[in-house]
């Protein structure tokens, strides 16, 4: 027998979409508060939200009439007609949230508008809404949600421990709060204050409070505008990268957004800095006109769709890349993740800044010196053979500001330890350079720079086209992006069925197997974009497939661990490395330089506790 479900059951089912756990209740309520123009939002949880969730704000408040409709499905004050969907600037707009919450809990809304003489409240128990009654209330709104899922025990059973639910809410609130520095946020759990984010602080301060000051110190500023688009925020140094993407955050017009290609663009900017499948940490705020972004894609509103995704990705990539480059991506003291533990010295990846004249008076060891060195160490004379020795590796053209740290080491005395590590004693501490990793970086950047400078990409044409079968989606993408790919050296044509014919490959990779190159192009990190549209990723991906090969080419043509280097070679290496874009990581993301500061050595030797 078929029957129409009563509205409260419909709402209970729909609630599953919106309300999964306390976390989702808090999200909906806080977003409502923000839309109501609140400057102060207090969230309180009892027993991880099982017993009660209370959200209090000083926002606009409900009129008694609105209050009567608050728990009715698709009742919203934010959207009157379909056309308004084009201009959604508020966070919540679907009108589902309160109805859904009301249908699976015992909820009370008490509210008073700022211009009203007194407040009112309305109660909803498992979807049955009571009458609106006068009640004492300060201006603003207080939503109290008790006994969540009391009428849907299956769902209640799926709740995690209070601690886990609390942690999720805390993380959520922190993430929401980053987009609204003008709002004061507080989170209390069982009477204890867990988070307090005062209004008016900077993004960095707020990140510090929410995620720890150690993390906040490792962030560089990002800022770039382009036409109606603007991105600003903070990008974490590569060392902060973590296994999950929970702190790879992107906000679009104040809303947390999970847009694959936008996040991928940011990840791309990190690519050379990160090793393996780790995710960068970043807090980026993207501002754009509301009609250039569609936020009505997902009930939880995490996904958005951009009118011009290519432009957005491009801006994010450029902004992040510029920020990382500007910082030299050299981690500061204390960032060490290598060899950390107990009383051992924390090894710091990268170098502390040294004034350029630091070594002017530094003592020089002599190659012929008889001072006994530990086995495995080799003393190298620092006798100056004149500046011409390094000239061979110098490139013409505009040079970026050299890395003062590596540049400062050039010409300084060193020992080559274990045939692989160049060890420098500097006033700032003991600096260790991995000769292979650093040379790999230098070689890689030289290959890439030449590739960039060549302008027109050279194509080795194929006499007999290589026929490769690819999936339908990949094929459509390859043919759609044909022109862009050809500009990067990949000449691909239709060959009927699921096959394409490779007619040419980048001349720089002439000996590579064409089919393997095409695979590398298709198997890049990102999924192929939608068919029939220009794909912002096509060019960077084609370039990436080429540059990827440079990694292994650089590895093969770099000095190896075990190669003996004399002082002229080391000087040349350091000088060129100082001009690299990312001198502190090898192309695979491994660090190239390590510093043990004086303080760390002192701690290790128990001179200082």
């Amino acid at each position: 027998m078929i029957r129409v479900l009563p509205p409260e059951v419909v709402n209970q089912i729909a609630a599953g979409e919106v309300v999964e756990r306390p976390f989702s209740v808090v999200k909906e309520l806080v977003e409502n508060s923000l839309d109501a123009g609140a400057t102060r939002i207090d969230v309180a949880l009892d027993d991880g939200g099982r017993e009660a969730i209370v959200v209090v704000d000083d926002g606009a408040g409900f009129t008694p009439a609105d209050l009567g409709l608050a728990f009715v499905s698709h009742a919203t004050s934010k959207l009157a007609q379909l056309a308004d969907l084009d201009h959604v600037a508020s966070l919540g707009f679907r009108g589902e949230a309160l109805a859904s919450i009301g249908s699976v809990s015992r909820a009370t809304i008490r509210s008073r508008r700022h211009d009203a003489g007194g407040g009112h409240e309305v109660h909803c128990d498992g979807g049955r809404t009571g009458d609106v009654r006068p009640a004492a209330s300060p201006p603003g709104t207080r939503v109290e949600v008790r006994d969540l899922f009391h009428n849907t025990p299956a769902r209640r059973r799926f709740l995690k421990t209070a601690r886990a639910e609390r942690a999720r809410v805390q993380e959520l609130l922190a993430r929401l709060a980053l987009a609204r520095l003008d709002v004061d946020f507080t989170l209390r759990a069982d009477g204890r204050e867990l988070l307090r984010l005062p209004a008016g602080e900077t993004l960095r301060e707020r990140v510090g409070r929410a995620f720890g000051n150690a993390l906040a110190e490792q962030l560089v500023d990002v800022e770039l505008g382009q036409g109606s688009l603007r991105v600003e925020g903070l990008a974490g140094r590569p060392e902060l990268a973590r296994r999950d993407a929970t702190l790879a955050l992107l906000y679009v017009n104040g809303r947390l957004a999970r847009d694959r290609s936008a996040l991928q663009a940011v990840r791309q900017a990190y690519r050379e800095h990160l090793m393996g499948a780790v995710q960068p940490v970043h807090f980026l705020l993207l501002a754009m006109p509301p009609d250039e972004v569609d936020v009505n894609v997902h009930p939880q509103k995490a996904e958005v769709r951009f009118l011009d995704g290519r432009r957005v990705s491009g801006l994010l990539f450029e902004a992040t890349r510029a920020a990382l480059r500007g910082s030299g991506a050299a981690p500061r003291a204390g960032a060490g993740a290598v060899g950390v533990g107990g009383d051992k010295p924390r090894a710091i990846v990268g170098l502390p800044p040294l004034p350029p004249d630091l070594f002017g008076r530094a003592e020089r060891t002599s190659g012929g010196g008889s001072s006994p060195l530990p086995s495995g160490l080799r003393a190298v004379g620092a006798a100056d053979r004149g500046p011409h020795t390094a000239a061979g590796v110098r490139e013409a053209g505009a040079e970026p500001a050299p890395d003062a740290l590596l540049g400062g080491l050039a010409g300084q005395p060193f020992v080559q330890a274990l045939g692989c590590y160049l060890v420098f004693a500097t006033p700032a501490g003991l600096v260790v350079v991995d000769q292979h990793a650093l040379h790999e970086r230098v070689t890689f950047e030289r290959l890439r720079r030449r590739h960039d400078e060549r302008g027109a990409t050279l194509v080795q044409r194929l006499l007999t086209p290589e026929i490769v079968e690819v999936g339908a989606a990949d094929k459509a993408w390859l043919l759609d992006q044909g022109e862009v790919l050809a500009a990067e050296g990949f000449v691909v044509e239709d060959f009927g069925g699921a096959a394409v014919a490779i007619q040419g490959i980048p001349a720089v990779l002439t000996r590579a197997r064409p089919a393997a190159l095409l695979r590398a192009l298709l198997d890049g990190d990102a999924a192929c974009g939608p068919v029939g549209e220009p794909d912002a990723d096509a060019r960077p991906r084609a370039r990436e497939a080429v540059v990827e090969r440079f990694h292994s080419m650089a590895c093969r043509s770099s000095v190896m661990a075990g190669d003996r280097l004399d002082d002229a070679e080391v000087r040349a290496l350091l000088r060129e490395a100082a001009r690299c874009e990312h001198a502190h990581n090898c192309p695979h993301g491994r660090p190239t330089v390590l510093t043990f500061t004086g303080a760390e050595l002192e701690r290790f030797f128990k001179r200082r506790v």
Partner: protein, 366 residues
């Protein structure tokens, strides 16, 4: 088995088969070479199941007929080191063979000859005959162009294409194509096979000393046999998916150039020094009865070199990977060569000899 033989003869006969045993195999017995003494000769036989070779050393003093297995790698290395004129080999019941030469004595542990794979018997359906030295020359002029990796086409082998008295060898790796042909004695029906490079390399070692002999080529459905005197090489064929090579040889050209081969080879070699390490490329400009070669290596330098040339058609320019070109120029024996080209997205054709054609795809975008 016990024999006394000439060292040089032994080395020659062994070298024909010594390269065939596989380095890695689940069946280690085939890492040996079989020696079988009978009458006044010794037969050498080795196989990796896909490719097998048989050679014969004649006029041997066989003191005791029989067969032994010798580990291919060690035996080959040892024989290369020997210098005295005579060598004696003596097998024992426990599959050990003692080689004595001068004041040295070497014992090698083999395996049971009865367990060794039998020599394949093979009669082809088509037989061709060609002078061994001429075949070797064709092989040298085409084998370098063979692809080293597997692709969709079976171009990791050399195409042997026979039709009405004309034998062609064709090698290509998708970027260039080398073709050599020769008029030979043979049947009326056409025959075609893609031969693994390794089989021809083994054959090449056998031909080295026998330039004027008759090489008999027998073709079957999936195997090929080469017979040169008492030496036989039998190989599985690669499948027939060879590209339609005739279609990629350009029939028309806008510009035709004649140039001295030695001058060109020398010029390209010099200029290529300054073709940068990451993209190997030499530019050819044809105008005013001259060929201007140039190359540039970013941050290293640039080179220009002019060669006299006869040019028909409009002035033009084209770029090639110099290594691909030099591979062919150095095995050409013609004094004046001819280049036919159109533009930088169509192949250029090099006439490098009466019977030798080379097709090279240019680098475009310069």
């Amino acid at each position: 088995m016990k024999i006394l033989c000439d060292r040089q003869q032994l080395q020659d006969a062994f070298s024909v088969v010594g390269g065939i045993p596989p380095v890695k195999t689940p069946n280690p017995i085939v890492q040996n070479v079989l020696l079988r003494a009978e009458g006044d000769q010794v037969v050498f036989f080795a196989t990796d199941y896909e490719l097998s070779a048989r050679s014969v050393m004649a006029s041997v003093q066989v003191l005791e007929p029989g067969a032994v297995l010798l580990p291919a790698r060690e035996t080959g290395q040892l024989l290369r080191e020997l210098s005295e004129p005579t060598v004696s080999l003596a097998g024992s019941d426990d599959h050990r063979t003692t080689i004595e030469c001068g004041s040295g004595s070497y014992q090698l542990v083999g395996d049971d000859p009865a367990e060794f794979p039998a020599e394949p018997q093979f009669d082809g359906t088509v037989e061709l005959q060609v002078t061994s030295g001429a075949f070797l020359e064709m092989f040298r002029r085409t084998s370098f162009a063979v692809a080293r990796e597997e692709t969709r086409y079976a171009i990791n082998g050399l195409l042997l294409d026979y039709d009405s008295g004309n034998l062609r060898l064709v090698g290509t790796d998708g970027r260039r194509l080398a073709l050599c042909h020769q008029e030979i004695e043979g049947p009326d029906e056409p025959a075609r096979a893609v031969v693994p490079l390794r089989a021809l390399q083994a054959l090449g070692r056998a031909i080295d000393g026998e330039q004027d002999a008759v090489l008999r080529v027998q073709l079957g459905d999936n195997r090929i046999a080469f017979q040169l005197g008492t030496t036989t090489v039998i190989s599985q064929l690669l499948d027939n998916r060879f590209p339609a090579y005739e279609q990629v040889i350009p029939k028309v050209a806008e510009t035709s150039i004649e140039v001295d081969r030695l001058q060109l080879e020398r010029g390209v070699r010099r200029v290529a020094v300054l073709s940068s390490g990451d993209v190997r490329m030499v530019r050819f400009e044809f105008r005013d009865a001259a060929l201007l070669l140039s190359a540039e290596s970013s941050g290293v330098g640039r080179a220009k070199h002019t060669i006299d040339a006869t040019i028909e058609g409009p002035s033009s320019a084209i770029s090639f990977n110099p290594d691909y070109l030099l591979d062919a120029l150095k095995v050409s024996d013609r004094e004046i060569i001819r280049i036919d080209m159109t533009d930088d997205s169509t192949p250029a054709r090099f006439a490098l000899g009466e019977t030798y054609t080379y097709v090279l795809m240019p680098i475009s975008g310069s």
